[in-house]
């Protein structure tokens, strides 16, 4: 029944560790996204994939590496975690029609990452 799902929902870890967040969508969409929402609630796009191809790669530290094994999955791996990485990370998906600027995005429940 779930449309866009993420695991884990909460992630608490120490500085310097490496962690991954997984995202899956069962909507049949071909475009997926990673967003970061900081403590001030600003929602910023990090990456986007269309049919497993990276189409948006914002100015994000190269410690963040997305990977899309297939259209329905988009994972985010973060190396050497820093305090400033603490945020809520949202995965989203959309069906490409006129372009990502016109497509409706459906968000997952989010992963709250806390780096200690």
């Amino acid at each position: 029944d779930t449309a866009v799902s993420q695991t884990p929902k909460y992630l608490v870890t120490q500085m310097g560790n490496d962690k991954s967040i997984k995202c899956e969508q069962n909507l049949g969409h071909d475009t997926m996204y990673w967003y970061k929402q900081d403590s001030k609630k600003f929602l910023k796009i990090m990456f986007s994939y269309n049919n497993k191809e990276l189409i948006i790669n914002e100015t994000v530290p190269n410690r963040f590496s997305p990977k899309s094994p297939d259209k329905a999955h988009l994972n985010l791996h973060i190396n050497s975690l820093e305090l400033g990485d603490s945020a809520v990370y949202f995965c989203a998906s959309s069906h490409r029609t006129g372009g990502i600027g016109t497509d409706t995005q459906y968000f997952g429940p989010g992963t709250r990452l806390t780096v200690l």
């Binding site: 600003f42 949202f90 372009g99 600027g101 016109t102 997952g108």
Partner: protein, 110 residues
């Protein structure tokens, strides 16, 4: 550059109306509106495309004035369920990413 939303917060009594504005310094192709409740994911409300059309979703409607590079979201006869943070996301072209505003917190009281 991210769009600017105003006001930053608004408190309403059930049944009252409110307007949330979203302004950009650059020409816009589309404006998307989302509502996020505390601890939850943003939920899509509506999208407005270049052309100045007005859309509605229950008693929530929106307009898009492309000349003024702004959109307004209208909450009419507000209900308790309207509480949350409203975000506008804008794109300058059909193929461009969405850039979100800072959000407007809405609290509807009984």
């Amino acid at each position: 550059q991210q769009p600017v939303q105003s006001p930053q917060a608004v408190i309403l009594r059930e049944g009252e109306d409110a307007v949330i504005n979203c302004s950009s310094s650059k020409a816009l192709y589309s404006v998307h509106w989302y509502r996020q409740k505390h601890g939850e994911a943003p939920v899509f409300l509506m999208i407005l495309l270049k052309g100045g059309e007005q859309k509605g979703h229950d008693k929530i409607s929106a307009s898009f004035n492309e000349k003024k590079q702004q959109s307004s979201l209208y909450l009419t006869a507000s209900q308790l369920s309207y509480s949350g943070t409203y975000f506008c996301g804008t794109a300058q072209a059909a193929g461009n990413k969405l850039t979100f505003g800072g959000g407007t917190r809405v609290l509807v009281k009984p």
